[in-house]
């Protein structure tokens, strides 16, 4: 059992932690303390040093100087089991669960002596039931983890830490993968934990979440501690400025008169494909000079719609009109030739090839065309020049165009993808979760680029799970639910609550009734 926290004194104290990687100072004399029953937020952009700091706490790295104290006792450095044993649990952003094992198996892993004669599953089951009860984290102990939803998997990951009697819980970007509803459920569980005396470090760069859950905020920038404030003494805007070191202004949206429809879907349906839900008689019109936002809980047909517009899926009914002409045999090649620019949802899996260089990735969609290919031969000089221009104009931070893209941060990867499609001056842009997982600087940049494209007359389809983002950027909003699309709503005509009702499918009942009357 971990020692109980004393009535006074912090449960965790980091004192003057410094860590250098070559010339880069990842952590520069960082000190912070955490008390029992307290939630502190660790706020900072990608690369600010949050992960390094946590890795030092967990013994994956050894600090160059400084010390860690847990429950009043010095923590030996460089020993991965020490922090775990002392009662610190980490919920990683990328879950460390084995999909083919049951929930219970995942929980028990590593908690019983490796050379023990027999697993005590009955005891584990009882303990899990108690934890689930205490914290409102219900989950089926015998379910295979692979069959669970993302929200449930995160619950398992949290239970795993609690199962090990963690008294301090560290959550790394816990809401990055959650829908707003799941995030609310998570916060409710976290509050229960705090009420029972647990302490939480909440790593995030989402400001409103930080404001909602934490009592104190610790801001890191470029490896330095920028400050520590109580949430009652600050507001999101001030935090953002501390984090970025610059004043942040929300994107400015100029009024535009919508142009003609560039891409139209009329009663288009697509088949269900495994986890990808198909579309059901979707009507959609993407007009020039307009950002069309697609709101909805993930898994409701967003992927199907994105696949359709990108050309990787064909309609099973209905018609697609491009610039007014119907396209019967829809394909990826047609979509590319028609100048549909795609910012894919998963930049690692479908957006880039990890072990290709920036140059190669920059021309992935156009490698067969001039100037990159001439009479069947690649012109690498032209490709490299193109990559260099993208790197320059879109501020892609990298050692050079010959770097493998794997080594770039998500934000810089996304900037390259953005540059790759924007440089062609596309008329139709499919932006699927374009800012997911990016830091504020990168988000501002990407959103600014989408707005600039709209202002020069492009039609943008913005798919996002972030309602704030949809409502800020979109001229027209559709809600997608179970493969069906709501009618278009003009900017400002719907509140978040109104949209939420359409997300859970409540709007359609009335629609159908009206439709039925029309038919009669």
């Amino acid at each position: 059992m971990p020692p109980r926290e004393q009535a006074q004194g912090p449960v965790l104290r980091l004192d003057g932690i410094t860590k250098r990687f070559g010339r880069l100072v990842a952590n520069d004399a960082i000190s912070l303390s955490l008390h029992g029953g307290e939630v502190i937020a660790l706020l900072g952009e990608n690369g600010a040093g949050k992960t390094t700091l946590m890795n030092i706490l967990f013994g994956h790295y050894t600090a160059d100087s400084g010390s860690v104290e847990l429950f009043g006792q010095a923590l030996p450095q460089g020993n991965p089991r020490a922090a775990l044993a002392a009662g610190v649990g980490m919920v990683h952003q990328h879950f460390t669960l084995a999909d083919n094992l049951s929930v219970l198996d995942n929980l028990v892993l590593g908690t019983q002596p490796l050379w023990g004669a027999r697993l005590d599953m009955a005891g584990a089951r009882a303990k899990l039931a108690r934890l689930a009860q205490d914290f409102g984290l219900a989950v089926d102990p015998d379910a295979r983890v692979g069959t669970l939803s993302v929200g449930e998997r995160q619950r398992v990951e949290i239970l795993k830490a609690l199962y090990r009697d963690a008294r301090i819980l560290i959550l790394d970007e816990p809401t990055a993968v959650l829908t707003p509803q799941q995030a609310d459920a998570l916060f409710a569980a976290l509050r229960k934990m705090v009420a029972q005396g647990l302490s939480i470090i909440f790593i995030s760069h989402k400001l409103h979440e930080v404001m909602a859950i934490a009592s104190r905020v610790v801001v890191l920038r470029h490896g330095k501690l920028m400050g520590e404030v109580a949430v009652t003494d600050t507001d999101p805007r001030a935090l953002a400025e501390m984090m970025v070191g610059d004043s942040i202004s929300p994107p400015e949206v100029r009024a535009m008169t919508p142009g003609p429809a560039l891409l139209e879907l009329r009663a288009v349906s697509t088949p269900d494909r495994g986890n990808v839900r198909g579309l059901h008689r979707v009507d959609l019109s993407l007009r020039a000079g307009t950002i069309t936002g697609l709101a909805g809980v993930s898994g409701n047909g967003q992927a199907g719609l994105a696949d359709l517009i990108a050309g990787t899926e064909r309609p099973s009914g209905g018609e697609i009109r491009l610039h007014g002409t119907v396209h019967a045999h829809w394909s990826v090649t047609k979509a590319l030739r028609a100048g549909i620019a795609r910012i894919p949802e998963d930049r690692h899996k479908t957006g880039t090839i990890a072990d290709f260089t920036l140059t190669e990735n920059a021309i992935l969609e156009r490698y067969r065309d001039a100037p990159f290919a001439r009479r069947g031969w690649m012109d690498w000089r032209a490709a490299r020049a193109f990559a260099e221009s993208v790197i320059r104009s879109y501020d892609v931070r990298c050692p050079g165009p010959e770097t493998r893209i794997r080594l770039l941060s998500g934000g810089n990867m996304q900037k390259l993808i953005l540059g790759r499609v924007m440089e062609t001056g596309p008329q139709i842009i499919l932006a699927n979760q374009p800012v997911r997982g990016l830091d504020i600087g990168a988000i501002t940049f990407v959103q600014g680029q989408l707005l600039a494209a709209r202002d020069r007359g492009a039609a943008v389809l913005l798919i996002s799970e972030d309602l704030d983002e949809i409502q800020t950027l979109s001229d027209v909003i559709h809600v997608i639910s179970e493969g069906r699309l709501s009618p278009p709503f003009a900017r400002g005509s719907m509140s978040a609550g109104d949209l939420g009702r359409w997300m859970v499918g409540e709007g359609y009942a009335r629609e159908n009734m009206a439709g039925g009357q029309d038919a009669a």
Binding site: P80, D105, L109, P113, R118
Partner: protein
């Protein structure tokens, strides 16, 4: 048809089935352990040759039979150590290393055989394990002679399936092993050593493969000759898939394959055998195994991290 029925009703047929299955069971369990931990061990064919030679050579030079089994196992573990070192901490291609180990191990065994016995043409024989009838049980008609009048190594093979099954699914070590084959990051996050688990699995698994090989020289053919393993290792790789990485099902697969094999030998001697080229019969167990594999492994779930090297710190 009557002849075929007669085959199935003879105790000697079933005794042969169990005998043929035994080495496959050892090696299949060895491969299964490796794969459950996330390492495909294609060294199996060569490690079986090494086991066959090491066990036989020990007995031929005057060692006891059980000493031979232990020496075979140690020899197998040595090649397992080499395989594990190259594939786990170094993270090299498991295909290439495995095939390399097979070539190296096979050649080493043949070379050692030639060095030890330079002037021998007819393979010398050893006194093998003798059948050990189990009292009372071996008196049961049909089942008795088939199941309970086998050599001790066969009993060991069948017992091993239970042990492997228990360890994998009922002990903390087994859970950690399976997790290393499913998501090594999950294992590392609990402060356990993925490298240690995988190395251990490959070494122990290779030891079992070598015992499978030793069975051939010490409990079946009584001598060592070239090409004697004859693709049994590759069959075991298929049996692991056939068994969907479950020890019990893999045992079933081994017995099924052995049945086809025993059947084809006997069919060659019947009236049907007179009209059909014997190669067709030789082919039969393999063809039937492929068919069974296609049918059985449709829903099998491969360990998710099989053949995925684990490097700490890489996402």
């Amino acid at each position: 048809m009557g002849e075929v029925l007669e085959i199935f009703l003879s105790a000697s047929f079933w005794a042969a089935v169990i005998r043929i299955a035994s080495p496959l069971i050892f090696a299949t369990m060895g491969e299964l352990i490796c794969e459950r931990a996330g390492v495909l061990n294609l060294g199996i064919e060569g490690i079986m040759v090494v086991g066959a030679f090491a066990g036989w050579m020990t007995v031929y030079s005057g060692g006891g039979l059980w000493t031979g089994v232990v020496v075979a196992m140690l020899a197998g573990m040595l090649f397992g150590l080499l395989h594990g070192t190259l594939t786990v901490p170094f993270g090299l291609s498991q295909h290439v290393v495995g095939l390399g180990i097979t070539l190296l191990a096979t050649a080493s065994a043949y070379f050692a055989y030639r060095l030890a016995l330079p002037r021998v043409t007819a393979p010398p024989r050893i006194e093998p394990f003798q059948p050990l009838p189990i009292p009372i049980l071996s008196d049961i008609p049909l089942i008795g002679p088939a199941l309970f009048s086998q050599t001790p190594l066969t009993y060991l093979a069948f017992g091993l399936v239970g042990v492997v099954s228990f360890v994998l699914f009922r002990t903390p070590l087994g859970l950690a092993l399976r997790a290393a084959g499913e998501n090594p990051a999950a294992v590392a996050a609990q402060g356990l050593s993925v490298t240690g688990l995988r190395m251990g699995a490959v070494i122990v698994g290779s030891g079992l493969m070598a015992v499978g090989g030793a069975f051939l020289t010490m409990s079946a053919f009584n001598s060592f000759f070239f090409e004697m393993v004859n693709g049994r290792g590759w069959i075991c790789i298929a049996l692991v898939v056939f068994g969907a990485w479950m020890p019990g099902k893999a045992l079933l697969g081994a017995v099924l394959f052995a049945m086809f094999d025993a059947l084809q030998i006997r069919l060659q001697q019947t009236a049907i055998g007179a009209d059909i080229p014997y190669q067709i019969f030789l082919m039969m167990p393999f063809v039937l195994s492929i068919l069974a594999l296609v049918i059985m492994s449709r829903r099998a779930s491969v360990p998710a991290a099989l053949m995925v090297p684990f490097n700490k710190g890489e996402r």
